[in-house]
Symmetry: C2
């Protein structure tokens, strides 16, 4: 039976006997609008833990544009139905005042060194908001394992580093990006694309796969990979490319030569919708 | 029996059965050089919890001056003896590499809004270092209660706000400042004073008590309280006053009129030693 909970106190109360019995807890933090990517996270959590908590919270402190926050899809009923079907024990769906009570948020968690590149520059405050709300959820749920998609690679790096550096007693489980048949990475924001833009959206994953193939073919120069791939974006005037970068997989700082594990990552706009995607590659 | 532990893994291992048996854990975070003020914290922790953990760690990330870090008194043997006598279960005394492993600290906890006044401006990074190491200790020990002295009022405010805003499942127990017979607040730094400076050091508590008496007598103007008190410092040319402030007890921002609970706090230097002290007062 899936229980939907909106209060922190209630959730803690429900989890007390779980922990007292020595049962494990798996946490899947989401902003709702669940898709197959989330489903994969939940399936894994279900398989590896006695109790599964899915949180559904559109976190205001991680939005750098108010229009994006307002327009973010909210589908709680469908989300709960998906959780029920997947055998989730608790859906935690607090409102903003429950997570950020009156008086405001003064304490923040931040990993500034990992947010200087990729999505960081274009989204000031975003990763501070992510790190802070995820830390709050970790403290509320006290899970044994928490599941995050690799699609949000920089977010995953920030959270892993936060857990490591702040000694948070939780195991971070990264989960492979789930893609549509044509390669587009699953994202709650995809449902905001027009039919026309939906077709063009595959350019991002195609560019990433192309870059990956070039690197696997032996190319080690970032400049040459970029030169080969960027024209794919330029073919579509409706695409506004924010970045297409190759960075050290751990420090997320740009490299010139691919001589270590790297993250190839891109962000692009179609109309008012921003899409991100990435591939990780370790050259041999 | 008091067990001294230097590894995070060992400490967690030792605390597993404690928690499994539903026993409570009290945490007293210290930088060592234990004095009667710490003893009071430990006594309270001992009374209110099944298991008591005292941490002894001179945290490098909270020192803004390297000379202060180098010169900070280190007396681990004496500290352990005091803990043994007080019935402490575990003394956790890690080295720097255990708390800050190679690769450096990239994730930080900060409460910037509470560090704009009092000690904040003169000690850049100090409270970020404090909040971060205390968060690390909270995650390592997962105590039910943690004990902090009111002498470090701004630190206490930062930690309380961090716990509230990040939903950390620990109860913060503030403990009254312990004073020498002549009023000087107990501090590990007192032992670095010359005999001459030790006498002059009482000026700070005397000024605070004077201000408190003036406010209790009905004075509500911060300017007039300051005008009455500041000459006490000016009498001693060897004192370098850093600040003597009256701030809102919760937001730690300066007030002009004492019409709510306030913190009267000061910091002054005697030679290379910096002393702080405060009194809290709620006008009726």
């Amino acid at each position: 039976m899936t229980v939907v909970i909106s209060s922190i106190t209630d959730l803690r109360q429900r989890l007390l006997p779980v922990r007292r019995d020595g049962k494990t807890v798996g946490l899947v933090p989401t902003m709702g609008a669940l898709h197959l990517g989330h489903r994969r996270l939940i399936e894994l959590a279900r398989r590896e833990n006695d109790t599964v908590v899915v949180t559904v919270f559109v976190n205001p402190t991680q939005f750098d544009r108010n229009a994006d926050l307002q327009g973010y899809p909210r589908t709680l009923e469908d989300d709960v139905a998906i959780c029920r079907e997947a055998g989730v024990d608790f859906v935690f769906a607090p409102d903003s005042a429950e997570m950020y009570p009156p008086g405001g948020q003064l304490a923040w968690v931040d990993v500034p060194a990992l947010t200087e590149h990729l999505c960081g520059p274009a989204r000031p405050g975003h990763f501070r908001g992510v790190a802070t709300v995820v830390m709050k959820l970790f403290q509320i749920v006290q899970a044994d394992r928490a599941y995050f998609g690799e699609k949000d690679a920089q977010q995953l790096a920030v959270i892993r580093r936060m857990v490591r550096d702040l000694n948070v007693p939780v195991e971070i489980a990264p989960v492979q990006t789930v893609r549509e048949p044509d390669g587009l990475a699953m994202s709650s924001r995809n449902r905001r694309l027009t039919a026309e833009d939906r077709k063009t959206a595959t350019t991002l994953s195609q560019a990433l796969f192309t870059a990956e193939a070039i690197v696997r073919g032996g190319e080690r120069s970032v400049d040459r990979v970029q030169a080969a791939v960027l024209p794919l974006f330029h073919r579509h005037p409706q695409i506004r490319l924010e970045y297409f970068s190759i960075v050290d997989a751990e420090t997320l700082t740009p490299v010139e030569t691919i001589d270590r594990p790297v993250l190839i990552a891109g962000a692009m706009w179609l109309g008012a919708t921003r899409l991100i995607d990435n591939v990780m590659i370790a050259p041999v």
